[in-house]
């Protein structure tokens, strides 16, 4: 029970999990993803890292031993497209370019969806701004360290990103319509209202970013010459775009249709930056060649389609086609619900395109790790990597399976048995508190006689 967990964690939020303990997981079928499968294998966790993998791994006497006979161990699942744990709005949708906003400012470590996702084996999320504008906000990669504070959830050393969005979502405010939220009169229109406009916003913003770069260079040159120029205004909107130009920030671009994917590749070529991932890219399969040539990855859905016209040409074979044509592909959730079972999404690639088990698992582990530039630390069970692990009762691609335990950095963050065990106590506590508050309120109401105010 998530709230019990939070309750216990909150008592000593900073104090818990100080020195990582040594843990040996034994008798598991170890699905390393990158180095094959070890039947009846052992994995030793030391100092938060995977210290050893194999059939004959010994552990120090004081190690915690987890017997995983009949169970399956896989790397923690990684979601390259999430909007979880965002407080106060996923979009800053009021402007065509909202690159000044940063998801890092609004991570809510108390969002119960973090725990729910953990319980589904998810350990890392690329938390993105929404898709309401051509250039969206800055993004951040987190580890689902439930019970910790927002800064403590950040994935150390992961390169930050920025969200772009193409197609229907960013242009939606540009034509008269009734939004989901507004049942009143049609909203005032805001630019852009076409795919052409979306492209123009991106070109314009990057042109501005280059001008901005030049302005600062000129200023710094003058300073270097010993002059006393007035500093230019710092612009929080343009700075992340300069970082994109300098290769310091990844671009994750929401897109659907093949034309817009190709468009962004050409704009990026022209402006001199790279797209790290095309997100969703449901028609990515039509331009697999161009995506591969650009060196971008694709993070897509397993089988979403048909909910809007730009998703009508979607096919669940997208991942398979892209993979076979040399594109790095991952499967993402884009949803607090879907992020709870990305392993099952991966399983669908075996039906739709005949991926092997390892290829399917890679879609939610090592591939997204590569797309986020964190594959040296997570994404597979390899010695030296972070001990981000999930223990399943059955093979994780079996639709009847479920996670039993989840470790991040060698710490246990989810245990199904413990969760089940805590439920009655939680219910009792909650009921007692509710009764207490009601009793106090009733007593208060009796005191407050009429005429007393």
């Amino acid at each position: 029970m998530q709230q019990v967990f939070s309750f216990t964690c909150l008592i000593g939020m900073m104090a818990i999990l100080s020195p990582a303990e040594t843990t040996l997981i034994r008798n598991a079928t170890v699905l390393t993803v990158t180095k094959g499968t070890v039947p009846n294998g052992r994995v030793l966790i030391e100092n938060g890292k995977i210290a050893a993998i194999g059939k004959n791994v010994s552990a120090p006497a004081d190690a915690t031993v987890v017997d995983a006979a009949g169970k399956y161990l896989m790397p923690g699942i990684i979601d390259c497209h999430s909007h979880t744990a965002i407080e106060g709005g996923v979009n800053e949708g009021t402007v065509s370019d909202s690159s000044m906003v940063n998801i890092n400012d609004v991570i809510d470590p108390y969002d119960v969806n973090i725990y729910r996702a953990l319980a589904g084996g998810l350990t890392v999320s690329n938390v993105l701004h929404g898709s309401a504008n051509a250039i969206g906000g800055q993004t951040v990669v987190i580890k689902l360290r439930w019970g910790k504070t927002a800064p403590e959830m950040l994935f150390e050393g992961a390169k930050p990103g920025i969200k772009f969005a193409l197609g229907e979502n960013p242009k939606r405010q540009g034509y008269p319509t009734q939004s989901f939220f507004s049942r009143g009169p049609a909203l005032e229109r805001r630019y852009p209202g076409t795919r052409m406009g979306v492209e123009e916003v991106i070109r314009e913003s990057f042109t501005e970013a280059k001008n901005y770069q030049a302005t600062w260079k000129k200023y710094n040159d003058r300073i270097a010459r010993g002059e006393h120029p007035i500093p230019p205004r710092r612009d929080l909107r343009l700075e992340p775009l300069v970082e994109v130009l300098e290769g310091k920030r990844y671009v994750h671009a929401h897109c659907y249709r093949s034309d817009e994917i190709l468009m962004l590749i050409r704009v990026a070529d022209q402006m001199g930056f790279k797209i790290r991932t095309f997100q969703h890219a449901l028609e990515g399969y039509k331009v697999a060649k161009e995506i591969a040539a650009h060196g971008a990855g694709v993070s897509t859905f397993s089988d979403w389609w048909g909910y809007k016209i730009e998703a009508y040409d979607a096919t669940p074979y997208n991942a398979a086609i892209l993979m076979r044509k040399g594109v790095m592909v991952s499967l993402n959730s884009d949803s607090d619900e879907l992020q709870r079972h990305l392993n099952l999404e991966a399983a669908k690639t075996m039906r739709y395109g005949g991926l092997s088990e390892t290829e399917a698992l890679a879609m939610v582990t090592i591939n997204p790790a590569k797309q986020l530039g964190i594959d040296d630390k997570v994404g597979s069970i390899e010695v030296g990597k972070s001990a981000d692990l999930v223990l399943f009762d059955k093979h994780p691609l079996d639709t009847f399976s479920k996670p039993l335990k989840v470790w991040i950095d060698g710490h246990e963050y989810f245990d199904r048995d413990k969760d089940l065990e805590k439920r009655p106590e939680f219910e009792r506590r909650k009921k007692a508190l509710e009764d207490k508050l009601n009793a106090a309120a009733n007593a208060g109401a009796k005191q407050g006689k009429p005429g007393a105010h």
Binding site: Q3, S6, F7, L10, M13, M14, I86, E87, G88, G89, V90, N91, E92, G93, T94, V95, S98, M100, V101, N102, I103, D105, V106, I107, D108, Y110, A132, G137, A150, P151, S179, F181, S182, R183, G184, P185, L187, E188, R190, E227, H228, P229, I230, P231, P232, R233, R234, D235, L236, R237, F426, R429, K430, L433, E434, K436, L437, A441, A452, H453
Partner: protein, 431 residues
């Protein structure tokens, strides 16, 4: 309950000249004086002249011109100070501060980004908006409040606050000090999909951040220009930034634990003195607040069960905990040594103010700590403890006189002094 100016000189003077009737000095004799800054004085005289505390202590001689008040059986405290409110600013015609569907019928121009300075009223002064006619002042005085840190309340940068007396002939008479700070509020409409920037929390944060960067640049530009006019274009005059530049401190909102974490980081980042207001879930962050050494203002609007909620959908556990523990926050912060004050947060009736304070005391706040938080500490948060917040010689004569413990019952207040002038609550059934 009504309060009215006590007509102390009614016998001597005809009606219609009430204001001029105030005596040149007032002496409250033989009262129990709670100085807050020092030990209590069980039997002392307080001499008020020219709006100030001229003297206080046992055995003070009462000058011939002073109007003496028998204080035996009475207790005198420094007047309570509301740490943040709009008391003294009455509702006015202004653009709606929150977006809603109904607002969309009267569209304002769309805001395109920070450069349009959306919802910035940094230049507005509470001091210019005050009126003694605000009906809430009377109720506040009945609860023992004599003073308030009053701020305008629209926009994100809400304007420059003033420390004000809760009575006066004209608005300008009420001002004790200004500007005392700039209140910042986060305004979110439709979860980020509103009409005008910013409408998400992250948009608000980015916007505030940008304005402070702009302020840095503005200051630097002025400085450099003053020293090197040649070859530099003159910096443009910026109304909004002037208002911000003038703010000695900013007030930032944080209610829940993660918001407290966030705002402590953000405040430090802005490199400007700041005060955090809200704090109902601060029981989860006592240690962090202590480490941060940032003063806070605790809302007196304790979270409670809504009257019109769905009986089948109870609150979640965290909400229940907040309802239980929020009133314990003041006591916990006091024990940890965090400097805090209270603010009314829309609780305006005398009975409700009394009840809200009582709730904090019942939840573990000592009376002495409560008193400090309501007087000297909150004055200190605004850098005004040299003139307000305790009964000391030379300080402003804002006092509360009670029969018994001020927190004891809601009718304990006998009268208050504001700027040395006496006000009395009209008792039940009176005017």
């Amino acid at each position: 309950m009504k309060f009215r100016l006590l007509i102390v000189a009614a016998v001597l003077l005809p009606f219609g000249r009430i204001e001029a009737a105030a005596p040149s000095a007032i002496a409250i004799k033989d009262a129990h004086v709670v100085t807050v800054s020092g030990p209590d004085m069980p039997k002392a005289t307080i001499l008020l002249r020219d709006g100030l505390i001229q003297d206080v202590g046992p055995g003070i001689a009462i000058p011939a011109d002073a109007w003496a008040i028998e204080g035996a059986g009475l207790t005198v405290y420094p007047g309570f100070i509301n740490g943040l409110s709009t008391w003294g600013i009455t509702a006015r015609e202004s653009q709606p501060s929150r977006e809603s569907a109904t607002d969309q019928r009267t569209p304002a121009p769309r805001i395109h980004g920070p450069e349009d300075r959306p919802q910035t009223y940094s230049f507005e002064r509470a001091a210019d908006l005050l009126t003694p006619d605000d009906g809430r002042l009377e109720a506040a005085r009945s609860a023992g409040f004599t003073t308030s840190a009053t701020f305008p309340n629209r926009g994100i940068f809400e304007g420059l606050g003033a420390m004000v007396d809760l009575a006066g002939e004209r608005g300008r008479d009420m001002v004790i000090a200004q500007p005392i700070g700039q209140q910042i509020a986060f305004r979110m409409g439709s979860g980020g999909m509103g009409r005008s920037f910013p409408s998400s929390l992250m948009g608000n944060i980015a916007y505030v951040r940008q304005l402070f960067l702009d302020l840095d640049q503005y200051r630097a530009a002025k400085m450099i220009y003053d020293a090197h006019t040649e070859g530099n274009r003159r910096p443009e005059y910026d109304h909004e930034l002037e208002g911000l530049a003038e703010s000695p401190r900013i007030l930032l909102p944080a209610e829940e634990a993660q918001q407290i974490d966030r705002i402590l980081r953000f405040g430090r980042e802005l490199k400007t003195p700041f005060v955090v207001y809200g704090l109902h879930e601060a029981y989860r962050r006592v240690e962090e607040l202590k480490q941060a050494n940032v003063p806070v203002l605790i809302s007196l609007k304790w979270p409670e069960k809504p009257k019109d909620g769905d009986p089948h959908e109870g609150p979640d556990y965290r909400e229940l905990q907040m309802r239980e523990q929020a009133p314990a926050v003041p006591g916990m912060l006091a024990k940890a040594g965090v400097k805090f004050g209270f603010y009314s947060d829309g609780v305006d009736s005398a009975a409700d103010l009394h009840k809200a304070l009582k709730k904090a005391i019942d939840a573990g706040l000592s009376r002495a700590d409560a008193l400090r938080a309501l007087t000297l500490d909150v004055a200190g948060i605004y850098g005004l403890s040299d003139r307000l917040g305790s009964i000391q010689k030379g300080k402003i004569a804002n006092l509360v006189v009670t029969k018994g413990d001020i927190f004891g019952n809601k009718d304990a207040v006998e009268y208050v002094f504001i700027d040395g002038k006496q006000f009395q609550p009209a008792k039940e059934g009176g005017r």
